[in-house]
C-alpha cells in the first residue's frame, strides 16, 4: 500500500501490466525517454526498452491506426494521445476502425487496445488543452469510455481496460493528475468496466458525476447534509459507456430527484442520455425535473473566462436546492 497521486497510480498500472504480459506495448508522442508530458509513462522506457515503449512520430492517426494493426495481430497497445483536443486527427481511425473491426470481421478480429487521453479544464491551459469531449466516444457503438475520478479507481480501471477484449477510450482529468493522493494497494486491483459506484448514500437526492466533477458532487453532498439536512446519493459513473443505468435508476427510484454534473457542454452531452435513462426507468418516482449542471454550449472561451463555464460547487448546490424545492 502506497500513497499515490493519479499519475503515479496510472504508472503503476502500466508497469504491472507490462511486467505481467509481454503483449502490452505503449505508443505515443513523448511517452518514452521523456516519460510523457504528464509523466504517466515515466521510467517505463528505461525498464522495457524502445520496442515496448515507443516514442512515435507526431501523428495521431498513425498512432491509433498502427495500434489497430498491432491489436489485430494480437498485441495490446496502450496508445497515448497527448491531449484529447488533438484526438480529432485520429477520430476517423477510432470511429471507422477501432470501434468497428469486431463487427466488420464478424468476430474474426477484435481490437483490444486502450487509448489514453488527458482531458478537462480548470488548469489554465490554452485552447484544445482544456476541453471535455467524452460524449463523442460515448456515442460510438463498439467503444467503451472510461473516466476515473481518483488514483485508486484509475489504477484499477486502467488494468481492466488493458485486459478488456474491446477498445477502451480512457480519459484522465488533468486537474486530478497531481491532486489528492490515495492509498493504492501494491497487488493488482481491477474494477469492472460498465459499473458505477455509489460513493455516498442518502435518500433525498441523487448526484451523478464523474472525473473531476465527482469532487464537486461529494462536496455538494457534504454541504447539503450540513446546511440543509439533506442526504444525497452520490454516484461516480467511472464508465460513461456502456452506461450503468441500473445503478442510476435504482438510486433515483429511491430519491425521486437527480442532478447530473459534467464538464462537457450541455446539449447532446452524457447528461442527456443519463436523463433519458432516468425517464425510462424511474419516471413514476420523479418528484422534480432532472437537473443538469454542465459547461455552456460554447466553444472553449479561453481560460480567463473558464471559471464561468466549468461547473463549480455553487452551481451544483444551486441546482440541487432548486431540485429539492420543486
Amino acid at each position: 500500500m502506497a500513497k499515490l497521486n493519479l499519475v503515479k497510480a496510472l504508472n503503476l498500472a502500466l508497469l504491472q501490466e507490462m511486467e505481467r504480459d509481454e503483449d502490452v506495448l505503449i505508443m505515443g508522442e513523448d511517452v518514452g525517454v521523456d516519460g510523457g508530458v504528464f509523466r504517466v509513462t515515466e521510467d517505463l522506457h528505461r525498464k522495457f526498452g524502445s520496442k515496448r515503449v515507443i516514442d512515435s512520430p507526431l501523428a495521431e492517426a498513425a498512432i491509433v491506426g498502427a495500434g489497430v494493426g498491432m491489436a489485430l495481430y494480437g498485441l495490446k497497445p496502450v496508445c497515448e494521445i497527448q491531449f484529447s483536443g488533438f484526438a480529432f486527427q485520429c477520430f476517423h481511425q477510432i470511429e471507422n476502425h477501432v470501434a468497428r473491426y469486431r463487427m466488420r470481421s464478424q468476430g474474426r478480429f477484435h481490437v483490444p487496445m486502450v487509448i489514453r487521453m488527458p482531458y478537462g479544464g480548470g488548469v489554465r491551459a490554452l485552447e484544445h488543452h482544456s476541453e471535455s469531449e467524452e460524449q463523442f466516444y460515448a456515442h460510438i457503438p463498439g467503444l467503451k469510455m472510461v473516466i476515473p475520478s481518483g488514483p485508486r479507481n484509475a489504477r484499477a480501471l486502467l488494468v481492466s481496460a488493458i485486459r478488456d477484449p474491446d477498445p477502451v477510450i480512457f480519459f484522465e482529468h488533468k486537474g486530478l493528475y497531481h491532486a489528492a493522493k490515495e492509498d493504492v494497494p501494491d497487488e493488482i486491483e481491477m474494477l469492472p468496466i460498465g459499473r458505477a459506484q455509489v460513493v455516498r448514500e442518502g435518500g433525498d437526492l441523487t448526484l451523478i458525476a464523474y472525473g473531476a466533477m465527482l469532487r464537486l458532487a461529494r462536496e455538494a453532498a457534504g454541504t447539503l447534509a450540513d446546511e440543509d439536512g439533506v442526504q444525497a446519493d452520490v454516484i461516480d459513473l467511472l464508465t460513461i459507456s456502456p452506461l450503468d443505468r441500473e445503478t442510476i435508476v435504482a438510486s433515483v427510484q429511491k430519491t425521486g430527484r437527480a442532478v447530473i454534473v459534467h464538464e462537457a457542454p450541455r446539449s447532446f452531452g452524457p447528461g442527456a442520455e443519463i436523463a433519458a435513462s432516468i425517464m425510462d426507468g424511474a419516471f413514476l418516482s420523479l418528484e422534480a425535473p432532472i437537473a443538469r449542471v454542465t459547461a455552456w454550449d460554447v466553444p472553449f472561451p479561453g481560460f480567463a473566462r473558464e471559471k464561468a463555464s466549468v461547473p463549480d460547487l455553487a452551481c451544483v448546490l444551486a441546482a440541487a436546492r432548486e431540485t429539492l424545492a420543486f
Binding site: 520496442k51 498513425a62 491506426g65 498502427a66 494493426g69 491489436a71 495481430y73 498485441l75 466488420r104 441500473e246
Partner: protein
C-alpha cells in the same frame, strides 16, 4: 559554401518487362515456373470474369454497389503472387482479384457486396483483412501489423493496397513515415489507375510519379508497368524478399488504368473520353500475358468456360443463402453484450415475433446508394 547539393540525389526507376505490344525484354524476364505462369493467368482471368458477372448481378439488383477491377488484374495478382500464405494483406475496396488469390471464396465476396457482413469475415487463420472503404485509412493498420510481426519475431510480410487518390490523404503519408522510421516489413502497392472517381492524376498531385513520394520518407519507391504481370511480380518479389530479410518497407507504384466504372453507381463518360479508354484497352494486361503464354504453349483450352462454371456454382451457393437474421447484428458489437444491448436485442426479438417492422428487413431491395459522393445513375 552557402548552397550545397545533398547526396544522394534521388531517382525513381520504372520497370517494364512485357509491354503492350507483347515485346519481351528477355534480359529482365523472370524465371517463373510454367505452373505458376498458368496460375497467374488463371487468377487474372478469374478476376476479370467475376468482375463482369458481378456487374450483371448488380444491374439485376442481386448485389449492391461495388468497385470493379477491370484493367487492374496484373497489378493485383502479380503482387499477391509473391506472398506466402501466412503473410498479411491489407486491401482497400478494389482488390477483388487479389482477394480471390488469397483464398476469399467467391460467394463470400458476393455476400459482402450484397450487404452481409458475413462476407467480410476472414476464415480462421486467414491473414487477410476485410476491405476498408475510407480511403488510405487501412495503411497505418498495415504498419502496425508489420510492427507486431517484427516484435513477435515472426517472418511475416504485410502487403497493403491503395489507389492514386489515397496518396493525397494524410493517412498515406503518416503510414509511410511510420513504416520508414520503424523499418518494418511492409510493402505498399499503389494501384495508380489514373482516376479517383472523376479526378485525374494531374489534379491529384503535382509529383512526376507516385513512387517518388516514398523517397521523402526514406523508403525505396519504384514505378512499374502495372499492366505487366511479370514486371509487377518481379518488383513485388524483390520488395517482399527484402521486407522478410529485415531490410524494411518499399512502395511500388503500379501504373495501370481503371477500364470500367469507379463503382456501379458511376458514369465515367461524364469525365473521360472514349478515346482514352480505348487507348488503355489496347494495353489490357490479360491480352499481352495471354499472348506471352500462348507462345510458351501454356494457355489452357476452355479456361474461361471453366472459370465461368466455377463462378456460376458460387453464385448458386450465394443465392441459396438464408435470409439475414436481424438479431445477429447484436453479436459482434462487443465481446460480451452489455446490458443495454441485451435489452435492445430483446426488444427487437419481441418486434420480430410480433411481425413488427424489423421483420421486414430482407424484403424488396432498395436501389444501391452511390459510394463516396458519387451521384447515382441508372445505367
Amino acid at each position: 559554401m552557402p548552397r550545397t547539393l545533398l547526396e544522394p540525389r534521388f531517382q525513381v526507376e520504372y520497370l517494364s518487362i512485357l509491354d503492350s505490344d507483347g515485346t519481351l525484354d528477355t534480359s529482365l524476364e523472370p524465371d517463373i515456373p510454367a505452373e505458376d505462369l498458368k496460375r497467374l493467368y488463371r487468377g487474372m482471368l478469374l478476376g476479370r470474369r467475376l468482375d463482369e458477372r458481378m456487374i450483371r448481378l448488380q444491374r439485376q439488383g442481386r448485389i449492391g454497389t461495388f468497385a470493379p477491377i477491370k484493367g487492374q488484374e496484373a497489378s493485383q495478382v502479380g503482387a499477391v503472387f509473391t506472398l506466402r500464405p501466412g503473410d498479411w494483406t491489407v486491401p482497400s475496396f478494389r482488390e477483388t482479384a487479389a482477394m480471390l488469390w488469397r483464398g476469399w471464396p467467391i460467394e463470400k465476396l458476393l455476400l459482402l457486396f450484397a450487404g452481409y457482413l458475413e462476407g467480410g469475415q476472414p476464415a480462421p487463420g486467414q491473414n487477410d483483412l476485410p476491405i476498408t472503404i475510407p480511403v488510405a485509412t487501412q495503411l497505418p493498420h498495415a504498419v502496425g501489423l508489420a510492427y507486431a510481426a517484427q516484435y513477435r519475431g515472426d517472418d511475416a510480410v504485410v502487403m497493403a493496397f491503395c489507389g492514386d487518390g489515397a496518396t493525397s490523404e494524410g493517412d498515406f503519408h503518416e503510414a509511410l513515415n511510420f513504416a520508414g522510421v520503424w523499418h518494418v516489413p511492409v510493402v505498399f502497392v499503389v494501384q495508380n489507375n489514373q482516376w479517383a472517381i472523376s479526378v485525374p492524376l494531374k489534379k491529384q498531385t503535382h509529383s512526376r510519379t507516385l513512387a517518388q513520394k516514398a523517397l521523402a520518407y526514406g523508403l525505396p519507391g519504384l514505378q512499374v508497368d502495372g499492366n505487366d504481370v511479370l514486371a509487377v511480380s518481379v518488383a513485388c518479389r524483390d520488395a517482399v524478399d527484402r521486407a522478410r530479410a529485415g531490410d524494411g518497407p518499399t512502395l511500388i507504384e503500379c501504373v495501370t488504368y481503371r477500364l470500367g466504372v469507379h463503382t456501379t453507381a458511376d458514369d465515367p463518360t461524364k469525365y473521360r473520353s472514349a478515346e482514352e479508354v480505348e487507348a488503355w484497352e489496347r494495353k489490357d494486361p490479360l491480352t499481352r500475358f495471354g499472348a506471352y503464354l500462348e507462345k510458351k504453349n501454356l494457355l489452357e483450352d476452355g479456361l474461361a468456360e471453366a472459370l465461368d462454371a466455377e463462378i456460376a456454382a458460387a453464385v448458386q451457393r450465394f443465392e441459396a443463402r438464408g435470409a439475414a437474421n436481424p438479431l445477429t447484428m447484436f453479436e459482434h458489437a462487443y465481446g460480451e453484450r452489455p446490458p443495454h444491448l441485451e435489452a435492445q436485442r430483446a426488444a427487437m426479438a419481441e418486434r420480430l415475433s410480433s411481425g413488427g417492422p424489423a421483420a421486414a428487413t430482407d424484403g424488396a431491395e432498395p436501389p444501391s446508394p452511390p459510394m463516396r459522393g458519387q451521384r447515382a445513375t441508372r445505367r
